[in-house]
Amino acid sequence: MNQIDASVCHLENIAHATFKLVVKVDHEYLSFIRPGQFVHIQIGQGYEHMLRRPISIADFDLETGQLTVIFKVIGEGTRKLSELTEGSVINLLLPLGQGYPIQQLSLKKALLIGGGIGVPPLYLLAKQLVDRGVSVTTVIGFQTKDDVFYHEEFSQLGKCYVTTNDGSYQHKGFVTDIINLEQLTADYYFSCGPTAMLKAVQSTMVNCPGYLSLEERMGCGIGACYACVISNAEQTAYKKICQDGPVFAASEVSL
């Protein structure tokens, strides 16, 4: 892992309170990134914000040295990130955590299931799976039409279903409703989103091996402070989300 400065190339409001941030990073830091890993972003220059913000990596391009993250403004720190200007410099720790272990898996067919701001890391995952010749189907869920992003980007990589809670965009309901309705199956599933959605996905997909990426408030981001933890499947010990995860086999954690 590294601590580096990165300059802002592009910042775009892509959905309600949702921003795509593209930064320029030296190639050497990009080549080790795995889908599902995250960056830990320092907020501001002084000491007002002592905690960084963990944001999943949505994409990177080795040729241009560009790294993309997508975040939602939910508080003071993310609001400040949304006000960055082109050329400004932010400090990152990267790459952090364990990603989706696709290099160790043998699969032909993958089902990617994302909810809200859990959707972004699935984009890098989908791209890398398609590069490996895997057939990718994506189901992404949002609250409402204004929150939807990356429908077109995922559609270019395979079949993509979008659900909204209020039915204002494509299918009304939850991601698990579409999985049941369309009887979607795969060799492996990969999911990221709010805990309630992950729980529903875990039980809907109980007969399919899969991986879940978890969110939690973090401190250090590297495994030293024990702020972000999740119970193991036996509920006898905690695993550290930032260091042992954020991606876990669905069978190894108790949500």
Partner: protein
């Protein structure tokens, strides 16, 4: 070249900078950013007799120039710490200060004896001030008689010097400091976190699962400086100061107040290299303010020095 060395009971420090307990685990993670050999010492995460799971999440929340935490002393238990964590740290030229916690005086005594018998640690930090556990922790640090009793009992079994970590959540910290000094404490470390709370406007409930957490970071520095200043005037034993240090000038302020060395906690989360950076900056910062050694600074803020 400015002499940064400091000698304290059981500790020969090459510089007065060490990471604070609970913010640095057992060092392995930060050793990926710089060699732990650079540090004056390390205060490792609290050990209890049996493994502790800690509190539910959320365990942390950011506040203005600080943070709240309620980890709840999650640790694998003292025996596992000695077997699995200390061998790594012993490979460095680095005094290890082991933080010990418990729910009863008997547990403190067991953990203290086990760690000091292991011969791996240079000193103990007696944690009678953790605000985040239901049993043990802070109640040992808010009553001077109980604080003195646990200090005395731990001193009876420890082969290494004992630094008592004081809670700021008391009416008169000087009274507690004098009580543990009289009970045989070799030094003090201060301050632990202040109890605080943050309410989430969306849920309208306390944000931390534990409701209450310990406030740390630059927001608490003036309180720590004031308490160290007062305690320094009352006791003869040395003080390791902590609370919101982020720069080399903060370190000098702590030393002037009366600390002989300092620990850095929350700042590691903002900048994982902060201890290393401060060690690099300290000599020029001391020169800038007209000091020629660390020893000249300690207690320099008091009229009779």
């Amino acid at each position: 070249m400015i002499d940064l060395t400091v000698e304290l009971p059981g500790l020969k420090l090459k510089n007065p900078i060490m990471p604070a307990s609970g913010c640095f685990s057992f060092g392995q993670e930060y050793n990926q950013f710089y060699s732990l050999n650079k540090l004056g010492a390390i205060m490792i995460k609290a050990a209890t007799q049996e493994p502790r799971l800690g509190n539910p999440t959320p365990r942390v929340a950011e506040t203005h120039a600080g943070m709240l935490n309620a980890i709840g002393l999650q640790n694998p238990g003292v025996t596992t710490i000695i077997e699995e964590q200390l061998p790594f740290l012993q490979s460095f030229d680095l005094p290890i200060i082991a933080n010990i916690a418990g729910s009863s005086i008997e547990e403190y005594v067991y953990v203290a004896k086990t760690l000091s018998d292991s011969a791996a640690v240079a000193a103990l930090e007696l944690n009678i001030s953790c605000p985040n556990v239901k049993e043990g922790g802070v109640q040992f640090g808010t009553d001077p008689h109980i604080a003195a009793e646990v200090t005395r009992r731990v001193k009876e079994v420890s082969k290494v010097p004992v630094y008592v970590k004081l809670s700021p959540n008391v009416t008169d910290i000087v009274e507690i400091a004098l009580a543990v000094e009289a009970a045989g404490a070799d030094g003090l470390s201060m301050i632990n976190t202040l109890t605080g709370m943050k309410i989430d406007l969306d849920t309208r409930k306390p944000l931390l699962a534990n409701q209450v957490g310990g406030l740390s970071g630059p927001a608490i520095k003036p309180i720590a400086i004031r308490m160290i200043y007062q305690v320094y005037q009352a006791v003869k034993i040395p003080i390791i100061g902590m609370g919101g240090i982020v720069t080399a000038t903060d370190v000098i302020e702590y030393l002037l107040a009366g600390a002989s060395a300092v620990a850095i906690g929350t700042a590691n989360f903002q900048n994982p290299l902060v201890c290393s950076d401060i060690i690099d900056q300290l000599p020029s910062c001391l020169t800038e303010y007209g000091f020629t050694s660390i020893k000249d600074v300690i207690g320099g803020g008091h009229d009779d020095n």
